[in-house]
């Protein structure tokens, strides 16, 4: 194909850094993965894999390299591979993260990189956990807009300020990194957990919603917001950068401020 006119296009000076970079270096890493398959054994064990990886590779690429070239039985969930679908939350070097958002070069590759399933949910196989208890808590907080009165013919109005009020908690991708990083959740699986509270927050502070009181009632339960010990693991774990602990505090304050 050719450009339709020969006119020179308008141009700018590009920064000198553009076009540099050169070849992406390779490096060796050891991946240490916790394995569990109840079809084979009731006990879990660690497997180590030595891999050569590239500069832009993520932990997910390393897991794929194992699965695709070395051991096809290694099992983990993944889909989008760029941090929006929430499938591949796992414990990497003891911290909850998304495997597809964790670049190997940002980890200490001089030591083995440990990969384990997220904690507090039953392990099904290798890095796959049963997500059902997590989604059960989510469903219990009424995670949908509830309105009363007549719906307008066009959209409901909402000021940019009111929209901004709950913006942070709309980012949640339900990956469970926060909930499964919470020591309270580890010891008390009945606790709603940070993700459910984040999703309640998203509606409680939405100016269009009329069911805030019902959600606050639910979260005022003994397994609700008061279980939170403000440990901040959840905020550190959130791959979307949601200020989870802040959201939980705001829900706590709303419970206290509520008219009974």
């Amino acid at each position: 194909m050719t450009a339709s006119t020969a006119e020179p296009a308008s141009k700018v000076e590009l920064p000198a850094s553009v076009g540099g970079g050169g070849e992406i270096p390779t490096f060796d890493v050891t991946l240490r993965v916790r394995r569990y398959n109840p079809e084979v054994s009731d006990e879990s064990h660690w497997d180590e894999f030595k891999l050569t990886m590239y500069g832009t590779d993520r932990v997910l690429d390393a897991l794929h390299k194992v699965k695709w070239e070395l051991d096809g039985s290694l099992s983990f969930r993944r889909s989008c591979a760029h941090g929006v679908c929430g499938s591949d939350a796992m414990r990497i070097n003891g911290r909850n993260r998304l495997a597809c958002k964790t670049l190997l070069k940002d980890l200490d590759t001089s030591k083995p990189i440990t990969v384990e399933p997220i904690k507090g949910l039953p392990v099904e196989k290798d890095l796959i956990v049963d997500m059902e208890p997590f989604f059960q808590s989510y469903r219990e907080i009424m995670p949908f807009l509830v309105t009363t009165g007549h719906a307008p013919t066009k959209e409901r109005l909402q000021s940019p300020e009111d929209r901004e009020r709950f913006d942070d908690t709309t980012k949640c991708i339900l990956c469970a990194a926060c909930t499964s990083s919470c020591p309270v959740f580890w010891t008390d699986g009945q606790y709603f957990g940070p993700a459910a509270i984040v999703n309640a927050h998203r509606f409680i502070f939405d100016s269009r919603d009329d069911a805030g009181d019902m959600r606050l009632e639910i979260l005022n339960d003994k397994e609700g917001v008061w279980r939170c010990r403000t440990i901040f693991n959840c905020s550190e774990a959130c791959p979307r950068g949601i200020q989870v602990t802040k959201a939980i505090s705001e829900v706590k304050q709303a419970v206290l401020a509520r008219q009974f």
């Binding site: 194909m1 450009a3 339709s4 006119t5 020969a6 296009a9 308008s10 700018v12 590009l14 920064p15 553009v18 076009g19 398959n37 084979v40 832009t56 699965k67 695709w68 070239e69 051991d71 096809g72 039985s73 099992s75 993944r78 889909s79 989008c80 591979a81 760029h82 941090g83 929006v84 679908c85 929430g86 499938s87 958002k101 670049l103 196989k125 290798d126 796959i128 997500m131 989604f135 989510y138 469903r139 995670p143 949908f144 807009l145 309105t147 719906a151 066009k154 959209e155 109005l157 909402q158 000021s159 940019p160 929209r163 709309t170 980012k171 949640c172 991708i173 509606f203 939405d206 269009r208």
Partner: protein, 595 residues
């Protein structure tokens, strides 16, 4: 083997599937089968917006939107379908708002709108602000909102149930003109429960396919690992045609080397594409709307810049998306996610440095043919009663040979809703079709072949070779030679596929087995795309033949229909029959496509 009975079964829980489920679930007993958890679907990766002529910020109307869609699709769009979509877009957006979707707002509190490629005022005069959006995570918000409403309406999900077969029976029937034919009818689907490895049959009066796309036939793609064209593949194997498979969209701005999507909204907000010399090269290719030309044009222009030696980077193999002239606060407010992708994956700071980008395989315009009710066609004129398809798996055809940005989020909402309503209404009056004898026999046999195979080939190696050849030969520039090369490679890869073995022999979460099955679909679809591309000897929309560089309306203003047929041969490939289907015109005559 367990058998379940539902009025309506929906396969897939992305935007189209869940939008259908919200309608169907309130009218009929409905189950949604999904190989992923519902919120994991790739609808969530869509970024920029969903167009509807709300006219909240400037003059607009649905007729202009229809025109843009038709012109954007290089006139291969069925205009009746485009009209339905543009008209119902307005309610589709308002429905989502009422369901709770947190759209960005204007100072007056209305849904805000922004510019997007190919969307113009008054038939191409200037870009128009038509895309309703929620920052650059509109798809995420749609997916979450639809799931939230499925929870609200107690929609029944079967999570991680992978549908492997559609149960089709054929009955003798007679057309109005007296000619006999075989009428296909659907009895149910066969699914594989990933957690247990058990087979579950779902008998249903109506079935909706909403399984998404097939981007994983390519190496550089914005698509999820799980987008392996299962629905298209299953339908094709069961004798249902595939329409317009040669048309695949390459999104201009994938992160270079990775394919991760950077929304067109970046250019909608003012970002500019530049080559290694700093030139705004789109001024040469689309003088009027420049960087906001439709995706096929921008993608080809970028590839051409690289081909002519004006690519940036150490290997001169990408161009640059320049946001450095935009205010950081504006970038943070409107494009937070994509700028974070650039930082996370390439270590580039978009405030101060241009971002390396290159076209990435993005969207299948083709798919299972349907009419505007969402009903699947078994040939040009015959509906398969009770079978519906919506979203990327389907071809209505509202996208023609090139989809406009934002029209996919619109498509899933408009035609997902239509399919859901129509399937439920159909189920109210229809009876179950009797299941064929031993309905899972073929599926079990296929799985056994894969599970017990002792060959020497690895699934991942074959898949990677397939993706390499598709990137090299079936990307934005195609010739008879390149396409034939791809076809030859696919034939060899099919041979190798017969000689695979997998390592995981267990029943529990056997994703090794799953990937092997998925590869089978990818091979089928790559072949269908390639055969169709070789056959269409013209250039139109996303299909650009350097050996036939012009659009040829006299010979090619028609849809491609491919059928699996053991007795046929097309372009040297045995087992594929070629047909065509008329393009529906209502008000727009084809014109030269200039921007």
């Amino acid at each position: 083997m367990q058998v379940h009975k539902y009025d309506v079964v929906i396969v897939g829980a992305g935007g189209a599937g869940m939008r259908a489920a919200i309608e169907s679930g309130q009218r009929a007993r409905t189950a949604v089968l999904t190989k992923l958890y519902p919120t994991r679907s790739h609808t969530g990766a869509a970024q920029g917006g969903m167009c509807a002529a709300l006219a909240n910020v400037e003059e607009d109307n649905w007729e202009w939107h229809t025109f843009d869609t038709v012109k954007g699709g290089d006139y291969l769009v069925d205009q009746d379908a485009a009209e339905v979509m543009a008209k119902e877009a307005i309610d589709a957006v308002l429905d989502l708002e009422k369901m709770g979707l947190p759209f960005n707002r204007t100072p007056e509190g209305r849904i805000d709108q922004r510019r997007f490629g190919g969307h113009t005022r008054d038939h191409g005069k200037a870009p128009v602000r038509r895309a309703c959006y929620a920052a650059d995570r509109t798809g995420h918000m749609i997916l979450q909102t639809l799931y939230q409403n499925c929870v609200k309406h107690n929609v029944e999900f079967y999570n991680e149930y992978y549908v492997l077969d559609l149960l089709v029976v054929e009955e003798d029937a007679v057309r109005e003109d007296g000619t006999p034919y075989k009428q296909k009818r659907v009895a149910g689907v066969v699914s594989y429960d990933l957690a247990s490895g058990e087979i579950h049959i779902f008998q249903a009066k109506a079935i909706i396919f909403a399984t998404g796309g097939a981007g994983k036939v390519f190496k550089t793609t914005s698509n999820a690992h799980t987008l392996t064209g299962d629905g298209m593949g299953i339908a094709f194997r069961r004798g249902i045609p595939l329409e317009d498979m040669e048309f695949f969209q390459f999104h201009p701005t994938g992160l270079a080397g990775l394919g991760i999507l950077l929304s067109e909204a970046a250019r909608g907000e003012g970002a500019i594409l530049r080559n290694s010399e700093g030139e705004r090269f789109m001024e040469r290719y689309a003088p009027t709307i420049k960087d906001l030309a439709p995706r096929d044009i921008v993608a080809r222009s970028m590839a051409n810049e690289v081909r002519e030696g004006r690519g940036a980077g150490p290997n001169k193999d990408y161009v640059l998306l320049d946001l450095t002239h935009l205010e950081p606060a504006h970038i943070d407010a409107k494009l937070p996610d994509i700028t974070e992708f650039a930082r996370t994956y390439l270590g580039v700071e978009p405030y101060t440095e241009p971002v390396p980008v290159y076209p990435t395989a993005h969207y299948a315009m083709g798919g299972i043919p349907t009419n505007i009710k969402g009903e699947v066609l078994q040939d040009n004129d015959t509906v398969i009663p009770g079978l519906y398809a919506a979203g990327e798996v389907a071809c209505v055809s509202v996208h023609g040979s090139n989809r406009l940005g934002t029209n996919s989020l619109l498509d899933i909402n408009v035609f997902g809703k239509r399919s859901g309503i129509n399937a439920a209404e159909y189920a109210k009056t229809a009876d179950f079709v009797e299941l064929p004898e031993d309905p899972s026999a073929e599926t079990i046999a296929m799985l056994d072949v894969v599970r017990t195979g002792t060959g020497t080939e690895r699934v991942a190696a074959i898949r990677s070779d397939l993706q390499e050849t598709m990137d090299a030969n079936m990307q934005v520039f195609r010739t008879a030679e390149s396409i034939t090369t791809a076809l030859g490679d696919i034939t060899k890869l099919r041979e190798r596929y017969r000689n695979i073995s997998i390592q995981d022999k267990g029943k529990r979460f056997n994703l090794d087995l799953l990937e092997a099955v998925e590869l089978g679909f990818l091979l089928d679809l790559a072949e269908a795309m390639t055969v169709a591309a070789l056959h269409r000897k013209e250039s139109r929309g996303g299909h650009y033949r350097e050996d036939f560089p012009d659009r040829d309306d006299a010979n090619w203003m028609k849809h491609t229909m491919l059928y699996k047929d053991p007795t046929a041969e097309t372009e040297g490939i045995k087992g594929i029959r070629f047909g065509t289907k008329r393009v529906v015109f209502t008000r727009y005559e084809p014109m030269e496509r200039k921007y």
